[in-house]
């Protein structure tokens, strides 16, 4: 009979750090961490030595100096006297614009092409094949340059619209002007007081606007910003934003579930207004954005001695429209859910599409009427078209090239996603008597979606990152402003490039977080 004996209790010896598998992993990790820290420290040490030798001290102070250059496409007020930081913000917004527009169109084109590539129509499927191969196998930078060249060479110049024997005319009943300086489309506006005496649009909108914080000018002529009576210095702004964002995300990450549960009254609930960690995160993010804006000196629109820099504004009209739209879409969705429930129970689907349509359209129409919506249309005045919304060539070329290029990849993803669905599914749908369009829409695509979404995320990321090639066509995104002209004018390579990378990293991580969230929600729920 074997006697069970405890292994002799070993006291800890130093050599166990290497030979004992229990401790070895810790040793390896500590060594790796030390190595990494040493490497990082070495880089920083070198950097500070080199910068000292060059006589440059790393500092972000230049961000608050006047930028000195103009930007054509700006979503917020900006002029050449605004600080570099504001130019950077304008650049970030432009990056986001192109990323969002590009992702939407790339998805639409990609899905369409992917489906059509499987079409039984020989010409169509071949044509789509040629499109996909051509776009995938030529560098995107070339496509961007070529798209720009086409935008410049093909449409007519504004002068061809001029005079009695004009060779070009404003299309779509005089609402859309396609020129080689860009496309002018009708511009929606609120309020009736924004047309000047001579019929031109006033530059300063006078809708309701609100802001926090205040801007003032000190004795030396520099703009100072204050919020709730505290003066906001650049350093304070910087750290406040960083720290508050960090704290907010850590809190939500750790306590998200708990907070949500306690806010729900400590019980699982199916109420549509329950607090979920996702909604909580959204709320915290919104609050963080407001904090950020107010700290950056979002002020009541006010020009003090010619300085209007540092003033961010939100149009209340616009906020109202967005809020109403969100609410009515939500109601519409709940009507649909109710119809689904009734169909499940009784087998008969009530006709609700007109109610849903009305729920969305009517409040919006009333609101828009109440706000005094009107459109301005492009008119040729002086050198250029005036009024209307100007989509510049650089924007269109970049948008077109990026979405066509990315769509070629998305098409392949969609195609392989569809082909991954077993043939039995579409045969079953045929047996039920569904048309081929409905089979695709109701049976195949929803299932394919689960295969499609993960690679789609990386394509959205690629599109966003490729938007940095905007400099090739002179579109002022973050690479064009902060890492372009600002870098050139100030010679601050280290600060601008690092800040730019940080911004791209934030955008990328946010996109992949949002998309992963969506992916979780459509994933096959295994119970």
């Amino acid at each position: 009979m074997t006697v069970m004996t405890d292994p002799p209790k070993e006291s800890f010896r130093l050599s166990m750090l290497i030979y004992d598998t229990r401790y070895r992993s810790i040793t390896i990790q500590v060594v790796a961490l030390l190595g990494f820290a040493a490497f990082f420290g070495w880089l920083i040490w070198n950097t500070s030595n080199n910068l000292a030798a060059l006589g440059k001290e790393p500092s972000f102070r230049f961000l608050w100096e006047p930028a000195g250059y103009d930007i054509n496409q700006r979503l917020l007020d900006y002029n050449s006297q605004s600080p570099h930081i504001r130019a950077a913000v304008i650049g970030v917004l432009n990056t986001l614009v192109i990323a969002v527009l590009g992702c939407i169109t790339a998805t639409i084109i990609g899905v369409l092409v992917g489906v059509l590539r499987l079409s039984k129509n020989w010409v169509i499927s071949r044509l789509m094949g040629v499109y996909v191969e051509t776009f995938r196998n030529v560098p995107v930078l070339l496509w961007i340059v070529l798209a720009m060249a086409i935008m410049i060479e093909i449409p007519p110049a504004p002068k061809e619209f001029r005079g009695d024997n004009a060779t070009a005319s404003v299309s779509l009943f005089g609402t859309v002007a396609v020129t080689n300086r860009g496309v002018y489309v009708p511009d929606p506006n609120f309020g009736s007081d924004r047309i000047g005496e001579d019929g031109t649009r006033l530059d300063e909108p006078t809708g309701w606007r609100v802001g926090l914080g205040d801007v003032d000018v000190n004795s030396s002529g520099m703009a100072t910003y204050s919020f709730l009576g505290f003066e906001i210095t650049p350093t304070l702004q910087f750290w406040a934003v960083i720290v508050s964002a960090l704290i907010a995300s850590v809190i939500v990450k750790i306590f998200g579930g708990d907070i949500a549960r306690s806010l729900n009254g400590g019980q699982e609930t199916t109420s549509p207004f329950r607090v979920t960690p996702g909604r909580l995160m959204l709320a915290v993010l919104l609050i963080a954005i407001i904090v950020l804006w107010s700290l950056m000196g979002m002020g009541i629109s006010r020009e003090v001695d010619g300085v209007s820099g540092g003033v961010f504004q939100i149009s209340l009209d616009f906020l109202l429209v967005v809020a109403v739209l969100l609410v009515s879409l939500n109601i519409s969705k709940r009507i649909k859910n109710r119809a689904d429930d009734i169909q499940e129970k009784s087998g008969v689907r009530p006709t609700v599409w007109y109610i849903r349509l009305a729920v969305v359209v009517l409040p919006m129409a009333i609101l828009l009427w109440a706000l005094g919506l009107y459109f301005t249309y492009p008119e040729l005045k002086g050198f250029n078209f005036k009024n209307g919304l100007h989509l510049r060539n650089s924007l269109i070329a970049l948008w077109l090239a990026l979405s066509l290029y990315t769509a070629a990849f998305i098409a392949e993803i969609v195609r392989s996603g569809i082909m991954a669905i077993s043939k039995g599914q579409s045969e079953a749908a045929n047996a039920l008597g569904l048309s081929s369009g409905r089979t695709m829409r109701l049976i195949v695509l929803p299932q394919a979606l689960r295969v499609i979404i993960p690679p789609m995320i990386s394509n959205y990321l690629n599109l966003t990152k490729n938007s940095s090639l905007a400099i090739a066509v002179g579109y002022f995104d973050i690479t064009g402003t902060l890492m372009g002209v600002t870098l050139n004018q100030t010679g601050r390579e280290l600060e601008t490039v690092l800040l730019g990378m940080l911004i791209y990293l934030t955008i990328s991580l946010s996109i992949s977080m949002a998309m992963n969230w969506y992916n979780e929600s459509v994933k096959l729920k295994e119970r």
Partner: protein, 449 residues
């Protein structure tokens, strides 16, 4: 009963199918006009294609190939096809294609100032070295891509990473030999130290000794050997690299360099060691989260600031470093996919055999995982190869960068589409053939299971 007469006793002869279901008509009915919508779509597409071709073909083919400048071109085309015709001026390609392919690489490195067509005494054929490098790349890659080729060719693959930079940059042959010796030292160190001091010490020695060799001793070794047996070819400064040569060079070096880095990162990402894993994930996500162009800005403006004062790499080398790091993050994800696709049983079998981690990786896991990853590696390469055009933004004269120089020349000022069409065409040929190969491989891998 004789009702039988109603029953046919002999088979009817086979009839021709109706004329509308066979031949071109039948094919067209089935594939082009199966429904009204399809018919409309088909006709619209055919009209669109014809329209595009009617614009492009006359431009491309009613063109000028022999001209000395753009004005000359325009005159020739006007003389041949009438003044209203817009034809391509391919003469610019004829004049500059050597530059677009080889950049400023000296045709005869033995005498850097000799022009093409006037070889100095005893020179190799023009552009011998870049062409030989390209052939070497093809021979080295072939046994990896096609497993029907003799396995002995893998030896070339193993030597090629050392030879390629030497063939392009030149200098003494003892440099690549010294670099290879580093691996020999690492192997010997493991071989002799592991039995004495244990496997971990062996691994550490095998990693540390070669690094010491490369950083401190190799230079001395190469120059000593060079003074004993002179084996060298003329040095070519990497600033002379340009055109498609630089695109291919950066692409190949980045892929070859990123493979080992990517494997290490992928293993680190799968590791149970928390800190190692965090470092690897952090690196991969950081690189994948920023655009390549920002990394190229780092290469062109910041890398020198990060390194000790006085060290200076030339711009091509800095770009190589950053593009390799960039590629390695993507490679890590490809390899991770390969690792994840291996059945769990392979890991367990390796454990059951009592293999330690490194042995299991080396003998069981990696060979299979890498084989599955080859299509992914090829697509990563296509991506990197296309992305090399971005270096034109930091003033490296790749084909796109050269267009600025060519258009700044008084002869060709104002030329546009021809250059870009040519560059796009060459890129298409390269990438298309590679993607076809990758598809072929995917099909082959799919059927083999």
């Amino acid at each position: 009963m004789s009702d039988i007469s109603f029953v046919r006793t002999d088979m009817l002869p086979e009839q021709e199918p109706p004329a509308t279901t066979v031949g071109f008509v039948g094919w067209a009915r089935a594939n082009l006009f199966s429904s009204p919508l399809n018919a409309i779509l088909s006709i619209l597409s055919i009209v669109a294609v014809l329209f595009v071709l009617s614009v492009i073909l006359p431009w491309a083919f009613m063109s000028s190939w022999n001209a000395t400048s753009l004005t000359d071109c325009r005159e020739q085309i006007a003389a041949a096809y009438g003044p209203d015709h817009h034809g391509a001026c391919w003469a610019v390609i004829k004049d500059r294609w050597v530059q677009l392919v080889f950049g400023f690489y000296p045709p005869y490195p033995i005498d850097g100032t000799a022009h093409l067509g006037s070889p100095p005494e005893g020179a190799w054929p023009a552009y011998f070295r870049p062409i030989a490098t390209f052939v070497l790349i093809l021979t080295a890659v072939a046994p990896v891509l096609f497993d029907k080729l003799p396995r002995k060719m893998l030896l070339i693959t193993a030597v090629f990473p050392f030879l390629m930079p030497w063939m392009m940059w030149g200098g003494t042959f003892w440099n690549p030999v010294g670099a290879m010796l580093g691996f020999g030292i690492g192997y010997l160190a493991y071989r002799f130290i592991a039995p004495i001091a244990g496997s971990l010490a062996g691994v550490i020695a095998a990693a540390l000794l070669p690094i010491i060799w490369w950083l401190f001793l190799m230079g001395g070794f190469a120059s000593t050997m060079q003074s004993i047996i002179a084996l060298d070819i003329p040095t070519v400064n990497s600033r002379k690299f340009g055109g498609f040569t630089v695109s291919i060079f950066i692409g190949v070096v980045a892929i070859v360099g990123s493979l080992p880095l990517g494997i290490i990162l992928a293993l680190g990402r799968q590791s149970d060691l928390l800190i190692v894993k965090a470092l690897c994930v952090g690196f991969i996500e950081f690189i994948r989260g920023v655009p390549l162009i920002t990394l190229l800005f780092v290469a062109s403006t910041l890398l020198n600031i990060f390194l000790p004062p006085g060290t200076e790499f030339d711009i091509i080398l800095r770009v190589l470093i950053m593009v390799t790091l960039f590629a390695s993050a993507y490679m890590a994800e490809v390899v991770r996919g390969g690792l994840a696709a291996l059945p769990r049983g392979q890991y367990e079998a390796a454990d059951a055999l009592g293999l330690d981690y490194w042995k299991a990786q080396r003998l069981i896991i990696m060979p299979q995982a890498l084989k599955i990853s080859i299509p992914g590696i090829v697509s990563t390469f296509i991506g990197i190869f296309k992305d090399t055009t971005l270096v034109s933004i930091i003033a490296i004269l790749d084909p796109l960068g050269l267009t600025a120089g060519i258009r700044a020349n008084a002869q060709w000022n104002g030329i546009y589409w021809e250059l870009f069409a040519f560059i796009a065409f060459v890129f298409f040929i390269f990438c298309f053939s590679m993607s076809r190969y990758s598809m072929y491989l995917e099909r082959k891998l799919k059927t083999s299971h």
